[in-house]
Structures are given as C-alpha cells and as structure tokens.
Subunit: 427 residues, 2 copies
Amino acid sequence: MGFLPRFADEWVLTKILKATGQAPMRLVVTGGADVSPSGISPVATVVIKDRNTLAGILRDPEVNFGDAYMDGKLEVEGDLVRFLEEVYRAMEHAPRAGKWYSRMASKWLDLWQDNSPSGSRENIHRHYDLGNDFYKLWLDDQLLYTCAYFPTPSSTLEHAQIAKMDHVCRKLRLQPGETVVEAGCGWGALALHMAREYGVSVKAYNVSREQIAFARERARAEGLSGQVEFVQDDYRAITGEFDVFVSVGMLEHVGEAHLDEFSEVIHRSIGDTGRGLVHFIGRNHPRVFSRWIRKQIFPGAHTPSLRSALNVLEPKNYSVLDVENLRMHYAKTLEHWLERFERSKQQVTAMYDSRFVRAWRLYLAGSIAAFRVGDLQLFQILFTGSRREPIFWTRDPLYADTKAAVEDAIPVVENVREKVKWTHAMS
Amino acid sequence: MGFLPRFADEWVLTKILKATGQAPMRLVVTGGADVSPSGISPVATVVIKDRNTLAGILRDPEVNFGDAYMDGKLEVEGDLVRFLEEVYRAMEHAPRAGKWYSRMASKWLDLWQDNSPSGSRENIHRHYDLGNDFYKLWLDDQLLYTCAYFPTPSSTLEHAQIAKMDHVCRKLRLQPGETVVEAGCGWGALALHMAREYGVSVKAYNVSREQIAFARERARAEGLSGQVEFVQDDYRAITGEFDVFVSVGMLEHVGEAHLDEFSEVIHRSIGDTGRGLVHFIGRNHPRVFSRWIRKQIFPGAHTPSLRSALNVLEPKNYSVLDVENLRMHYAKTLEHWLERFERSKQQVTAMYDSRFVRAWRLYLAGSIAAFRVGDLQLFQILFTGSRREPIFWTRDPLYADTKAAVEDAIPVVENVREKVKWTHAMS
C-alpha cells in the first residue's frame, strides 16, 4: 500500500467521516485502515482501493468520489441509494469543509459550461445525443425523461408518465384549437399528447438533433405533422404568439445568468393574456448541481430555488396560480429508471463501457437519494398573464375523476420513517 | 366656483383622465367642466363638488381621491366596484405620473407606521379594536376576517369560511394530539375549529385586546379552554415548540422590514421537522397598500409578492409543498362583506359617522376591484421542515369528498369576460 503507515490512512478516513457529519458508513482502504462512526451501525461499506484514490477524495470529494466510483477505484458494498441517502442527510448538517475551494471551482464550471446559445447546444448535445437507443433501454415507451406523476406509488412508469402529461394539460386547461409553444420538448411525447388528446396546435423547440429527428418521425407516423411542428433550435429562437407556454424539465438547463432571457421568451410568446406552466428540478436554496454531475453527466445544469425561479415571472407581472412540489414522484420515477438501467447493464456496457455504466448508476442512484432527502425538489408552477382571469375556481376539477383511484391507494408517502396515520379527519 | 375659468377645470380633468390611462369614466366638476374619454362609454360619473377638492386630487390622487370620497366632496354615480375595477385596469398600463412623490410619501409612511412591537400594537389597535359589535354587523357569524374558500361561487359566506378552515387543516393534515401555534388569530375561530374538529392543542397569539377577550370567552363557552390558549401578545413573543405553525392573514401586518423576525419565529416554533401554512394577501410585484388605505384603514399594511414572501422560508431551508392562489375567492368574500355592510349602514353611521361609512365602503369596494383585476392576490403557502417528508403523495385526498359538490358547480370563474368552455378534456 505504499510508504505511509496505517495510522495515516486512519487519520484521513476519520477526517472524511467527520466531513460527512459522521454518516453511518464503514470506510476501508484495501489492505489498510478501517473506520466507522462509533455507536451507529453502518448502512454500507466504502472500499477505497488505493492510497492515490484516498488522497484524491481528501483533496476534492465533490468530484473525486464520483470519478473514483466511475473508475472502479472505489466500491460501495451495500445498498447504493440507501448509502447516498444517509450521506446526504448527514452532510446537510455537517461543517462545510472546503467550501471556498468548491465555490471557486463551481464558478469556473459556470463559465466553462455557460448556457449561451452555442454553449447550450454543446451542453445539451453531450447528454441528450448519447443515442436514442441508449435511452430506449431504460425510459418508458414514450421516452419521457422528466419526473412522472404517480396516481399511486404502485402505478407503472408508463401510466405515471401519461398521468403527468394529463396533469400538466389539465392544470393549463387546454382547449381544442388553442396554440401552445413548448420550450425543450425532449423526444416530443408531451407535444404529441397535447395535440392528440386535447386538440391543440403545438410548436415545440429543442436543440438536440437526435431528439428532434425522433419526434418528427413519430409525428409523421401518428399523422400529427400538421398539428405539431418540431423546431431544432434554442428556446431563445422561439417566435410567434401563442395561448399557452409550457416547459417541462428545461429550466434546469437555462442557468441563473440566463433567467431573464427565458422570461423575455415567455412574455414574447404569450404576453399578458396567456397562461403557462414551468416544471423543473429546484431546491430549497439556490444551488448548482454537484460539480461531478456537471462534469460527467449534465454540463451546464443548474437548480434554482422556487424564489429564484420566480425571477422569471415576477418582472413580467405574471400571477402565480399554483405551485406543486412533486419531489417524491421524481424519486419514484428514478427508481424505475435505475431498475430498468440495471436490467440493461450488459447492453449499455456493450454500447459504451463499464465506466459509463458506473457513472450513470451513480447519477441515477444519487438523484433518487437527493429527491428522497429533499436535497432536490420538483416544482410545477402554473401562471397566467396579468390581464387574464385565473384558470380555475377551485382545483377540484383536477382531481374529480381520480377519486376512485385515491380511495384504493395507500395514502402515505413511502420511505417515511415517521409514518403518519390516516384519520377520519382527512377523509 | 371661484375665479379660474371653466377651461382650467377642463385642463385638470383631462390631465386626471390621462393619468388613469383613459379609464372609462365621466369626470364632472359641479357647475363646471365635464370630461369623458372619447370613443368609450363611461361606466360611472365622478362628481367633484368644488375646485379645492379637484386641486387636492391633482396634487396627490392616491390619498386625496379617497379622502374626498370619505368627506362627501366627491361622489361616484354608478356601480362603485365596477368603476374602481375599470380604473385599476386602465391604470395598470398608464404612464405613472407622480411616481417619485408617491414613493417618497410611501417611505415616510413606512417609517411612521413601522411594525415594531409597539408600532404593531398601535397599528393593529387602530383597525381591529374598532369594536366587536361593528365587525359582527357584516362578517360571518364566527367573525372570520380573512379570505373564505367557496366550494362553489354560490356557497354562503358562513359555509365558505368553514370550508376555508377545513381547507387549511386538511392541507396541514392535522392529527389528533398534535400541537399548533397560530400567529394572528383574530377572534379565534380557526384555533377553536382546529381544536374542536381535528383534536389538536392550539396556542394562538394576537395583539388585539378586543379580539383576544372575545376568543377567550368563546373558548370558555365551548369548553375548549383546556385545549386552546389565547395569548394577547405580539407574534415575536411566541415561545414553545410545536408540530405545526399556521398564520392566516397576518403576514400583511408584518412588513418587509420584519420578515426575518417572522422567519425566526417559525423556525423557533417548528424547527426542521414541523410543517406550516401561511395565508396572506400578496401581489404579482412587491408593493405596499395604497397610501390612502394605510392612512385611513390599515396602518402598517404591506403586501409582499410571492417571491418576497419566500424570504421567510428559504433562509431556513423549508420546502414549499404547495402554493394556491385564491384571489377570486377574496373578491367573492368581500362582495358578501360589502353587501352586509351596506345593509347595516344605518347602525354603522350611528356607531361612528357617515364619513366612516363612506371610508369603509370605499375600502371594501376597492378591495373587491383589486382582487378582481389581479392588483391583489391571495396566496396560501404550505411548507415543511427540511428533515420532514412531504405531507401528501398527491393532492387528491384534499378533494376526495368534494367531488359531488364540484359536479354540481358551475366550473368557471365568474366575471370572466372571455368565458372558457368546459370540455370533456377537463372532466
């Protein structure tokens, strides 16, 4: 194991344990030290395979833990999601070591991965153009790569993605003949659903070449090309006037520095009389994604707080009608994705390599953990222009036909330690 | 009419009309000029009874229009609410004259009416201690002086106030045996309702002497004194730890300068594991109430934007679960209040005088108009501590037992010009 004595490893592991706020894990250096927090039974064992890796983690844990896992120089023995959950929970209240370094490095990444039109193109290309065949292996059959809406925790992923699209359309109360613009349309499922099921015309934008090609093909196959126009371009290039603006899972790619451009696009599209919905991954506090996620998975990604996202709407005098937080639904969505991903592990390895598989496993597992502990949130904001009446008198109609489903459902959040009883008071 | 020639009046009236963005009203000076916008049929005639009053309105319309109305030196012939609605709508897009003066005068009022503990006591006393007998004349039978929740637009005010209390309790998912702290409890209706119907213990704070005396008496009469403690004190004096924090209609009296104190109180009371609901009058933009309202009706009042209200929650890492905008429900609530107020006009005149009656009529009518046009909004924010799971899996349970009511209801917002059709897509 090199020249340093065993107690040096021990000192480093103890320091790492402290930095995580004494998370319930056992830390082992292969053939070397072995440390766990006292009085807590560990949920997993982290095996660090050599001293260089250990030194790297000590230097910059935010990036090097992930890189070491990806390179197979670090193994987590035990439930990966559960382990990450416990680490996030413990770290929330831990003393922040290396905050200064992390902040500087993060600023540097912000500049490097800036979401200017050309930067966005590059950032989006790196993630979304990995190949439709790859995403088909583990997303639902319509390729929705955003948080689903599970009427009950045991709904299937396919059902939950359709329920999500309906939830969005119903909140917006789409009417036949209306016009909708969509910023960031993925593989086109929502645009096609709105056109097919609600009779609206949709102009949908996306910079990803592969996604747009797929969406256009699907529109042709469904005979919806006349009703849905897919445009391969940046959201800033949106032109035209519409009744409705919708954006599901794109605000994360806009970035704090460009929120005002996003705001301008909305106002240019629907003015003071339209309505809109923005669905995005957020946080209780504004914060960027971890530097590892931005380095290996999502270049340019950014998670605004609800307050910061309102910078998009407030300057244009939009009225917020409804905000819904669906973070447990994203945890559930990601559980399905991870399960399907693991089942397709061999195919993914053949397409890329095992490093890629390990990186994506860590990303999916880490996201489940982050949504479960509340490090990430999922917000849907419904809004109207200042010269328009609210869309609903009450929200009852949104729930009118799901009553039967609800009565059958287990009405408690899963993974709740402190289970809350369902009493007559709520019925 | 004095020495100035008639065309001087005309010049002033034209200037006023312009400042309102050519609102559809006829402006008349008794025995003098008579002006209306061209090409629009006026919804009301404003009769200004003398030239001093006219000069006052020209100088400082925000305060002097209201004062002149109150003093009977100005009459509005026609539907007062409709008139104010049209003026607000027109003014929203009018060039802002006198903005500088208004802003300075507003800052001065902020200082003068600051909501420090002693300032709050004085501010609250001036409005809420006008006498319980006065409020009994026009509020519902339980004296709720906040926005009701109308299951359908034709629900009675009494029913809608109970529905509001249940809506709040259900969002919070109160469980028997839990503890609740209420900041700003009015005449105690919500605290008593939570204790009686949901089996919780409540500690409820209010600085208004008359309201607390009434609430205590009611708790005794209902045999709930053991379960509900009414404390005559400022929200900043709240002590103890609780499962739930609730505040309905008090944030408006906190003021921008004291939001951090409000935030501290919440965190002190429920920490990172509790949950809470804040219900308040807000705006699309942060703005104070009109100076007239603050001078004659609500000293110290302030209406934050949703974004600015989130300054209460974000620094303490609270997760926003749900935001609901109920502005049309406040317009409806105020319609009921104004109607009852007008029916009790003679009693109110006997209690105070006709100036008081006119001031309150203008305040109630102006508030209806402001909620209708969207100049005011009503937000309910539901949140949980960072170490707590979300309260619901979906929001269905909130609506489960109201399905029948919904199906009977007219599912469109009243007073909508552009009526939206209800299609199968929404059912």
